[in-house]
């Protein structure tokens, strides 16, 4: 391999392997399968229903508003299904189904179509959907029930079936997620619970083990750039260690910060979205460091227990800027060409 930096081709790994968009989407869906399966086992059929309804919302929106060509043509790349799946896995199991459906619609309509379709969006579509739901229904989106984990496979929580526009009445009493417990009661959850996923939380975020498995698969298939997860996780680990060593009573240990909440899920499935992350190597590191710092700051000092969503969305917004300042030197030109105004 040529080590000459002047000839380094800086493109995402998927270009090197000449993957097509549909096959990349399919690989991500395969990677999600164990997580989907585990969420159905953990949270019962509520999880399955939410997954189905969210995907339906995303697919129907994509079908109804074709940007060019025939209806349904843009469904073949599988991106609408994938967006729906990823969004669903970030929702709480007791969420009313109509809200989940609306989330699927919002993520495709506001997250993708208004920008001009796949590849044009500034933000990760699934996260746009989630941010819309979070801003619209803050209570329903952060209500976790003690019943979540006690469900048998065929039990469905009654709040799932709330009529459209109506509130869901949750079974049992509300419970806190590991991050909520940490934030409001300074109580850490045991490592093995976080690792295997036997805690309250959104459908797909609880099990660190399965997400790491999916990440290994995706890295093996070279679907995403390893630098993004690496830079985010390293930054989070380093930055949160700093606080932990300053005051171990007040701040959670780095391992807890890494494994709890939606960090791993967001990092693997949302931050590494090739459309909304920077294209250059240097930019990728900047992007990851930005997300890592924001996650720790929001979690430790913000009003919300969890900050992964906002951290990724904020850095998505900064992506064009990062691309601009991290342009590599043009071959054959001096260093002065680095900040050329002819950046795309």
């Amino acid at each position: 391999m040529n080590k000459d930096p002047k000839l380094l081709v800086q493109a995402p790994p998927l270009l090197r392997q000449q993957l097509t968009t549909p096959s990349a989407m399919r690989d991500v869906i395969y990677a999600l399968c164990p997580i989907i399966f585990a969420s159905c086992l953990l949270f019962g059929s509520s999880a399955l229903l939410i997954l189905l309804v969210t995907v339906a919302g995303a697919v129907i929106t994509e079908y109804l508003f074709p940007l060019n060509g025939k209806r349904g043509e843009s469904l073949h790349d599988g991106s609408a299904v994938l967006t729906g799946l990823i969004l669903a896995l970030t929702l709480p199991p007791s969420l009313p189904l109509w809200i989940a459906f609306l989330g699927g619609v919002a993520s495709i309509a506001l997250g993708k179509l208004v920008w001009g379709g796949l590849g044009q969006n500034l933000f990760n579509p699934a996260l746009v959907g989630r941010a819309f739901l979070m801003a619209s229904f803050p209570t329903a989106m952060t209500t976790w029930s003690t019943e979540d984990l006690k469900q048998g496979f065929f039990d469905i929580q009654s709040s799932n079936f709330a009529l459209p526009l109506m509130q869901g009445q949750i079974d049992g009493i509300t419970a806190a997620t590991p991050l909520g417990q940490m934030k409001f009661e300074q109580q850490a959850t045991a490592f093995d619970q976080l690792f295997w996923g036997n805690t309250t939380g959104s459908l797909g975020e609880t099990s660190a083990a399965l997400i790491i498995l999916a990440a290994v698969f995706l890295l093996w298939r070279r679907i995403f750039d390893w630098r993004i997860p690496a830079s985010i996780l390293l930054t989070v680990a380093a930055f949160s260690s700093l606080f932990y060593f300053y005051d171990p009573v007040r701040f959670p240990d780095p391992l807890f910060t890494l494994l709890s909440g939606g960090l791993l899920f967001g990092v693997i499935f949302m931050a590494s979205d090739p459309v909304s992350s920077p294209l250059t190597t240097k930019g990728t590191w900047l992007f990851g460091i930005g997300i890592g710092v924001l996650v720790v700051l929001i979690r430790l000092f913000g009003g919300f227990p969890e900050g992964v969503m906002y951290a990724i969305l904020l850095m998505n917004a900064a992506t064009p800027l990062i691309d601009r300042i991290s342009q590599p030197t043009v071959f054959g030109h001096g260093r002065s060409a680095t900040h050329s105004r002819h950046t795309p």
Binding site: F65, P66, L67, N68, P96, I99, L110, L113, V114, G116, F132, A135, S136, F137, P138, A140, A162, L165, M166, Q167, G168, Q169
Partner: protein, 219 residues
């Protein structure tokens, strides 16, 4: 334009639909986004704007031969400001609660680009009668837009319309609809809808399909 005989009826209708100040000209966005979180606020704002626009168009049209061209904008603003003050005090006297909710946006009618735009583009060049009809049409169009935004946002954001609860106790409010992003999202969708209508009309009007980005625009 000058050769075409203008009649009051067309001037009235064009503001409501064809040249709607909000959905077609995209003017007056500040009150549009800021005060439409409930139907009552939207309606009050619309009424105040209607009063100011009609009254100042009338006066400007009367004075169109007296106002020197070089200082015309300041003259219009003074006339508009007079009526805004009247509207402001009237609202404060009769509907103090709504006035309080509208806050700074009643005095800000003076800076509404739609109102100044009508003076410059129409009232200062036409007879008082036409000016009043034009102002009425524009103001009604503005009111219609405010009201449609206000109704959508109130129904989704608080489950009520003009303060009457529509869905009962268990309604799950869309909090975002009462906040600024809700205003932007709703306005965006309404603009999309009106552009789509326009596109449809143009499509059916001409048999030759225009090439290029027209298809993308419509969606």
């Amino acid at each position: 334009m000058a050769t075409v005989e203008k009649d009051a009826n067309t001037e009235l209708i064009k503001g409501i639909w064809r040249d709607n100040p909000v959905f077609v000209q995209v003017l007056g966005m500040c009150p549009m986004l800021a005060v439409t979180n409930s139907a009552v606020n939207a309606l009050t704002m619309g009424a105040a704007t209607l009063f100011v626009l009609v009254a100042s168009s009338f006066i400007v049209s009367l004075l169109r031969k007296v106002i020197p061209k070089t200082v015309r904008l300041s003259c219009y603003i003074i006339i508009i400001a007079t009526f805004v003050t009247i509207a402001d005090f009237t609202l404060q006297a009769f509907v103090p609660l709504v006035h309080k909710e509208l806050g700074a946006f009643v005095p800000l009618i003076v800076a509404n680009c739609m109102i100044l735009g009508r003076q410059e583009a129409f009232a200062s060049r036409n007879t008082p009668k036409l000016a009043v009809f034009d102002a009425l049409g524009m103001a009604l169009g503005f009111m219609l837009a405010l009201l449609s935004l206000g109704c959508i946002r109130e129904i989704l954001g608080s489950g009520s319309l003009f303060g009457f609860s529509l869905f009962g106790e268990n309604f799950e409010p869309w909090v975002v609809m009462l906040l600024p992003p809700g205003g932007f999202i709703t306005l965006g969708f309404l603009l999309l809808f009106f552009n789509w209508l326009k596109f449809r009309k143009e499509q059916s009007g001409s048999t030759v399909k225009p090439p290029g980005n027209n298809a993308a625009e419509a969606k």
